[in-house]
């Protein structure tokens, strides 16, 4: 589903002394099937942006379009269920939403609410459990007896079992071990490719944004600061530092390399091996190759 924001402003606790403008005049377009990373300093409005994608928040001003849905103050659909079954959201720390007696029941909760048949649910559980890297023996356990990382996987499985068209991920790997982070991100990327999902990833990791996304948007204080291809956005060191962000390590390496060796190696999303070869070429010349 295509997603469009048109001059969206969102104000928390509007018309009280506590009102807080979290998004301001934000416009962008996300094409169906793309993988978009949203990056920004803490408090820049990323989670607020995300809550507009399945109608949890309605813009104070402006309009949000998701597929055929149009959400604005003047026009909001009475029933969000359809929309919410097509846009799956993995919230920050999704393990806080677990409540059922067993892992299996908790995963089935979403699909049940959206009217998926029992047989189909059983089938989907068989699919998502290995996808999130949980053993099947865990299905009968209480979600509250699991480790934090396992709980996270259960919560993610619960969202995937709904089979959404749009997958929204709010820092899905925050607080996991590095290996688990990679596993989960690779899993999301695979699903994205295999099922042609539209994926929106909020992350603090420039590395992840660079690796998985084909479009990056940088937020700053509720407004769009930079937008474009990751390899174009992530080389702008000064601009990023201005909003308390850093360039990915690999870009930092190329910048330092240029300072030391007075030769620039432009970053074009090449692999680490390719960069090693280019470095070799600069340092010892072509003839040794």
């Amino acid at each position: 589903m295509d997603i469009t924001f048109e001059n969206v402003t969102y104000i928390y606790q509007h018309n009280t002394p506590f009102e807080h403008k979290a998004l301001e005049n934000l416009s962008f377009h996300i094409e169906s099937g793309s993988f978009v990373a949203v990056v920004g300093h803490t408090g820049s409005g990323k989670s607020t942006l995300i809550s507009h994608l399945n109608g949890l928040s309605i813009p104070t001003k402006g309009k949000v379009r998701i597929g055929d849905y149009s959400l604005s103050k003047e026009h909001k659909p009475g029933d969000m269920k359809e929309l919410r079954s097509r846009v799956g959201v993995v919230f920050q720390y999704p393990e806080h939403q677990l409540f059922e007696e067993t892992v299996e029941k908790d995963i089935a909760f979403g699909p049940e609410n959206f009217g998926v048949s029992e047989r189909e649910i059983k089938k989907r559980i068989q699919e998502v459990i290995p996808a999130v890297g949980l053993p099947e023996s865990m299905l009968e356990r209480s979600p509250f007896d699991l480790s934090g990382g396992q709980m996270r996987r259960v919560a993610i499985a619960g969202v995937l079992a709904v089979k959404p068209d749009v997958l929204v991920l709010d820092e899905p790997t925050a607080g996991l071990d590095p290996r688990g982070q990679k596993e989960i991100m690779d899993m999301f990327y695979r699903l994205h490719k295999e099922q042609g999902l539209t994926t929106i990833l909020v992350t603090h990791s420039m590395e992840d944004a660079l690796k998985y996304a084909d479009h990056v948007m940088i937020l700053n204080k509720g407004t769009k600061y930079l937008e474009g291809k990751p390899e174009d956005v992530f080389i702008q060191k000064e601009a990023l530092n201005q909003v308390q962000l850093d360039v990915p390590e690999i870009v930092q390496f190329l910048i330092s390399f240029e300072q030391k060796f007075k030769t620039a190696i432009p970053y074009q999303k090449q692999s680490v091996e390719e960069i090693a070869r280019q470095v070799q070429r600069v340092v010892i010349g072509d003839e040794l190759l």
Partner: protein
Amino acid sequence: MNNSLIIGQYVPGDSLVHRLDPRTKITIIFFYVFIVFFANNLPSYGILILFALSSMLTSRVPIRFIMKGLTPVWFLIIFTFILHLFVTKEGNVIFNFWIFEFYSGGVIQGIAISTRFFLLILVTSLLTLTTTPIEITDAIEDMLRPLNKIKFPVHELALMMSISLRFIPTLMQETEKISRAQASRGVDFRTGPVKERIKAVVPLLVPLFVSAFKRAEELAMAMEARGYQGGEGRSKLRELKIEKIDIFVYFIFVLVIMILFATRTYG
């Protein structure tokens, strides 16, 4: 978040009312609530209204916000007024409507009682609007200190109060967060038959309790780790202190009481 009920909602500020010692505010409000019931004619009500309104203006809390927060109470005030209009049968009949007769006494009574009501709510919500919950508990702890003599656990009570107050917003945020997460999983809290809506509360309450217990445990651990062992010998970060300004306000208030008793009718 629904913030229409302002009781317990602090509005930051630096006005005279904000700066008053919380004990001063509590004491004055305590007596104010008491003397409101002594007013019985125009001037005596007048002085009370004057005091309440000028406190409100001095506090510089936006009037629009105070009034909005009073909306749930307006209903009660109007209800009281109408009730008196219908049931009080004193004075002369001033007009007839259908089978009802309205007496002048009813109108006067209605106005008087709903004014009292309005003043009480206004003044007490002014306390919570201009005083942080922590200040209020500090003040209460201080004012109840004499009860320590009869082994009443004043410090523990105050600690319980301040912890609960501290965690009300956290719990509300948590509720909001979890209900959003469950709404995304297809729970409908707003529409549908009552039975379904009651069932929808389970996915909200279970995570809420789980996190509240976890939080309580963590807090207890953190307090112990920082050497907390009860009120004995514990010093305070914020010392309460009566300033000149408090004395001045007490003085004004005593003046109000004197005017009230001088103008009310006796017998």
